[in-house]
Amino acid sequence: MAWRIGIDIGGTFTDVALVDETSGRIGVAKAPTTPADFAKGVLAALDLAMRRYRVDAADTGLLSHATTIVTNALLEERGARAVLVATRGFRDVLELRRSSRADLYDLFQDAPKTLIPRRRRFEITERIGADGQVVTPLADAEIDGLIADIKAQDAEAIAVSLLFSFINPTHEQVLGQRLRAAFPGMPVYLSSEVLPEIREFERTSTTAVCAYVGPLLASYLERLETATRGLGLPRLYVMGSNGGVFEAAEGITMPAMAVESGPAAGVVAAALAARQTDRLNLLSFDMGGTTAKACLIRGGTYDTTPEYEVGGEASGNRWMHGTGHPIRVPVIDLAEVSAGGGSIAWVDRAGSLRVGPKSAGAEPGPVCYGRGGTQPTVTDCNLMLGYLDRGSLLAGDLPIDFAAAEHAITEKLAKPLGTDSRTAAAAVIDVVNHAMAEALKIVSVQRGHDPREFALFAFGGAGPLHAAALAAELGVADVICPPIPGAYSALGLVGSDLKRDYVRTLYMTTDKADPAAIEAAYRALEAQGSAMLDRAGIAPERRRFVRTVDARYERQSYELSVAVGEGPISTNAVAAMAEAFHDRHRQTYGHDNRAEPVQIVSLRVSAIGIIPPLAVRQETAAPGTQARKGRRPVWFRGNREVDAAIYDRARMPTGQEVVGPAVIEALESTILVPPDWQATMDALGFIQMRRHEPRS
């Protein structure tokens, strides 16, 4: 027996999910998250899980982890004392950003505080030209003085970002060598190593993020790995924002990769289910306490986007561009909205109903938890409508105060809106569903995909409650809810491949491109990937390299990424790149210009170490088990009260059908089956829901 173990640290709970590689059997254990020292909570949950499922550490084949340390360090401004070295004349690039502000009419809105303040930013005389030639040689004589300046700052990490280093990295390399020699043991991040890509602000920002969070991430991962090794567990992998895992040591060389580790795990888990259930086209929908995440799975896989900002702010239901620190590393292309079970509903001064972006979080939590919450939340509204049990949740662990929830909804929502509490609660659910539907549309409709061709895959603690309504809103006919929806994300950690992305800017138009130069550049990137896979001990037959190219029309400035076919780059292959680009441009923007040459900007390679695929299953109840445990009234929009059957998920045998209106209750998640819907338990423990009466 070989186990794979995934550890997902959430705001409230640390989840450990286990999978038995041979049978696919899954298990889950939870322990309270310990923000002061995450390793404590991790060890507690691991200990519980290993005892509960009698796991022998020696039988564990894979240990993987989703970390929030990078994102939190940025949000809480707890990063390292980093210094930055820039080309003479460009010390302030990091602070000048892109000069525009996020909110037009807000005279007071400003950019986030720079990660590396001005006093710790230095210049060195040197200049590479736009053609890669040295315009001004690196001033060797200044380096000793620079080292002295850095020493005086008591620095913990160094970032170096010189102009045009993505074409000619020699100045950065020479400087890097000298700095590494002068500061042994201190991390030195060179922009040409971190991100050899055009646009100085974004490259500098990515490098600065690495230096800012690198020391913290390194010490955290070292501590955690020491602890897990102490339990006899194997080496620790970390989930990257690109959906692949990487070795802890690799992450320290590129800490920006560890942003959005948690949401990425959820998407990977959904992709895993897509391949396992052979439903290759899914809309992944992961709804927790404060946010909901939407992602498109097509052909069993997901897309990544090269643009992302960490530590950004939300306004209404949108994350505002320009409020965070840009990083240019591939991040799974997901849309996140501040809409979750804890989102607070309120009526604004003009009498309009609003939901979020504020969340009651875990503390005080929804009003019905009775922990001091007074603002009605989405969870309170679900309770009001009968979708959640009025007595208790979490199998009796969480007593529910229905009267308090009803009072809050009446006073804070129904009275100002001039309606009754149930109508108000139903309106809240509709508004929050709409916001989440928008997120689902961003990843489907706005990318040119018809949601009706997808099944909705709903997980996260609150996902299955809202799934059917969202499906109806999008015209989706099928909904799938996996086993252990509340901890399902953690399974993504053990079901993904090893992956790291490499990029290099190479300017060439397709009509004048030199195929040999492109091939050589790709090979160089693949060599870096091979070295990484060597270090991870991945056998040659388990390696894969995926080439893509970022291209645009010559005078544009935003690239579209297109796949590059197999085989060495030839003249034909270059022509195929151009064709693929024209198609993608038309698909994205509605027009193309086939007469025009295509500008190649950057080449990308994803180096992948394939980890044998995983199929998960949860035992269903024995045939004939009685799953129905009662009935209660539930309300749907339009003040429709109906009598719904209540089922216990744990007692549902394979093939059991549930006809809506019904509610299926499980330990950490509830599924709502509205009228017109029907749910079936499959042999693997997935519940499939289908609308049996297509809307006219």
Binding site: G89, R555, T588
Partner: protein
């Protein structure tokens, strides 16, 4: 030509921003949830149009600076929802639309038609901003319009990029009067496209940007058709009307909370480039009940150079100042927001000029309208305004005619914001009416061979002092690599520095210098210069004014400014009596 002057109603001496409400064809009872959903969808559509316009455009002024905007309109041309990109474009899109309607009534439009307009004396702003409106038909019924505007890099005229010495609007480029055309026949290889192509210097970029505008309008159209299919046209129309009413209600409620009164203020553009006479803009802001009016009576006469502000630009700038100071940022900007506002100005003044006054640099007087209104409002809502900032677009056009044809680099720069009641002013950002994005140095250097950017940074000691200091100005430095390089510019705050408020001191002045053979050549605020290989051209933009007396500044804020090098120890000592160590 005589009739040009009288024709456009939008430029009449007393224009009310008020417009008739949308007549609902069939009264529909609008479900509050449908409203919440559809109103968000309308805003999302406008944003998607804006994003796609910028991402698929060709010139650096649109793709990098993001000098473009997009909006959805109802069937009467009222703005319903907008992509919030450039405040300057957005306030006046319906005025520009209405000038088109006067040429071709809406009833005559057919699918495939579009309105186009860039005429400053036909409701437009300056020639470079070309507005295109596409009617949206659902089941053969015109239900809405999708509209976009982009600042086009070059539309002809006397000099590449801009013509500082233009004596009239004709010297500034191609005028496209408000008109109706048909896409398949007139664009898409048709005669209008050929006419525009023949009149611009870099058609490869300009025409591409036109196509991006049409494509963005097409996306808005497709999304509105989807929305109508789902909810039905009557419900969508009702939601559009309600979205405007919502903004109006929120704004009127905010107005009701402010005391009634009239407040006067003025600010000035340095000069017109011909004399040293400041061009004074005077505003009288009157708030009564739930309405507000701004009258620019007393503003100086129109001038002979390009600093005249067409009526649409004056309205936009005024609305932007009112929106920023008096409403919370979450109130959607649309026609409903405009209903409580009246803007008036005498004809023949700087802010309501008569044909054919040149208008290329209209943003500078527009900023002074913005400043005058904010300064007036400072008297009644001091906690909601900021001091004077850089508040200018410093436009730099560096062009060269070589073997490969014209190469035109045009970029605009901001500077420091004024300090505010609670925070220091933003350092080195674009100014509030334009909010443009900068072009990466690496992208600029890749694109142009006639110069290289050799410096870009903050200017220490450029901010005005006060309880909250102003934001710092910025410098941008270019090394000229080719003889025969042509430089044209308009800037401001070169003679008249950004003002402080409530005891705060003024910010630094803007300047442009050319270093040639060890000598410094001062460039005038509105100028054109032939550059040589080896010249070093530097723009230093203004820092913002301070807010409140310097006595009130927190010692730790002073210490931090000195430690970061934003303020020198010497300046900190002079302004705040600071004697500590950084």
């Amino acid at each position: 030509m005589q009739d040009r002057i009288a024709k456009p109603k939008a430029a009449s001496a007393k224009t009310k921003a008020k417009q008739a409400k949308v007549p609902a064809t069939k009264p529909v009872r609008l479900d509050p949830v449908d409203y919440a959903v559809i109103s968000q969808a309308l805003i999302a559509i406008a944003r998607e149009m804006g994003t796609k316009l910028i991402r698929s455009s060709y010139s650096n002024i649109v793709r990098e600076a993001q000098d473009a905007s997009a909006a959805l309109f109802d069937a009467q041309g009222n703005v319903v929802a907008q992509a919030e990109l450039i405040p300057m474009h957005l306030g006046s899109m319906s005025e520009i639309f209405r000038a088109c309607v006067e040429q071709c009534p809406i009833e005559k439009l057919e699918p495939g038609d579009f309105y186009i307009n860039n005429d400053p004396y036909g409701g437009g702003q300056h020639l470079q901003d070309v507005f295109i409106f596409t009617p949206i038909f659902v089941e053969n019924r015109l239900i809405a319009f999708a509209g976009t505007v982009a600042h086009h890099l070059d539309l002809g005229g006397g000099n590449p990029g801009m013509t500082p010495d233009a004596v009239d609007v004709h010297a500034e480029g191609l005028i496209i009067p408000p008109s109706r055309y048909t896409y398949e026949r007139d664009w898409n290889g048709g005669n209008l496209e050929r006419l525009v192509t023949a009149n611009v210097r870099v058609p490869s970029q300009t025409i591409g940007d036109f196509y991006a505008q049409f494509a963005a309008n097409a996306i808005g159209t497709a999304r509105m058709i989807e929305l109508s299919a789902k909810y039905g046209v009557p419900t969508v129309l009702a939601a559009m009307a309600e979205l405007m009413s919502y903004s109006e209600r929120r704004f009127r409620a905010a107005l009701a909370a402010i005391p009634d009164g009239t407040w006067l203020a003025e600010d000035a553009v340095d000069d017109d480039g011909l004399t040293d006479q400041p061009l004074v803009v005077k505003a009288a802001v009157t708030k009564r009940g739930q309405s507000i009016s701004v009258d620019f009576d007393g503003t100086c006469k129109q001038v002979g150079r390009n600093l005249n502000c067409p009526w649409a630009s004056t309205v936009s700038a005024t609305l932007a100042a009112i929106k920023a100071a008096l409403t919370s940022p979450d109130i959607p900007f649309n026609e409903g927001f405009k209903r409580p506002v009246t803007v008036t100005a005498p004809r023949g003044t700087l802010v309501n000029p008569n044909y054919p006054a040149p208008v290329r640099a209209r943003l500078l007087p527009a900023y002074r309208c913005f400043n005058a209104v904010l300064k007036a409002l400072a008297q009644v809502v001091p906690e909601k305004v900021i001091a004077g900032g850089n508040d200018s677009t410093h436009a730099l056009a560096i062009s060269h005619l070589g073997e490969r044809g014209y190469r035109v680099y045009l970029e605009i720069y901001g500077g420091g914001f004024g300090g505010g009641p609670r925070l220091d002013g933003c350092d080195a950002v674009d100014s509030p009416l334009s909010n443009c994005t900068n072009t990466p140095v690496e992208a600029t250097d890749m694109d142009f061979e006639h110069f290289r950017v050799i410096g870009y940074g903050l200017i220490p000691d450029s901010a005005g002092h006060g309880r909250k200091r102003g934001g710092l100005g910025l410098f941008r430095r270019f090394l000229i690599l080719k003889d025969g390089t042509n430089f044209a510019t308009y800037t401001d705050r070169v003679r008249l520095a950004p003002y402080g408020l409530f005891g705060g001191t003024q910010g630094s002045r803007t300047r442009i210098e050319i270093e040639r053979d060890g000598r410094i050549i001062k460039v005038k605020s509105k100028d054109r210069v032939d550059l040589r290989r080896g010249d070093v051209l530097t723009l230093y933009s203004s820092g913002g004014g301070g807010y409140g007396s310097a006595d009130g500044r927190a010692p730790e804020a002073i210490a931090r400014d000195v430690a970061e090098g934003y303020v020198s120890a010497k300046a900190a000592k002079a302004a705040y009596g600071w004697t500590g160590k950084a």
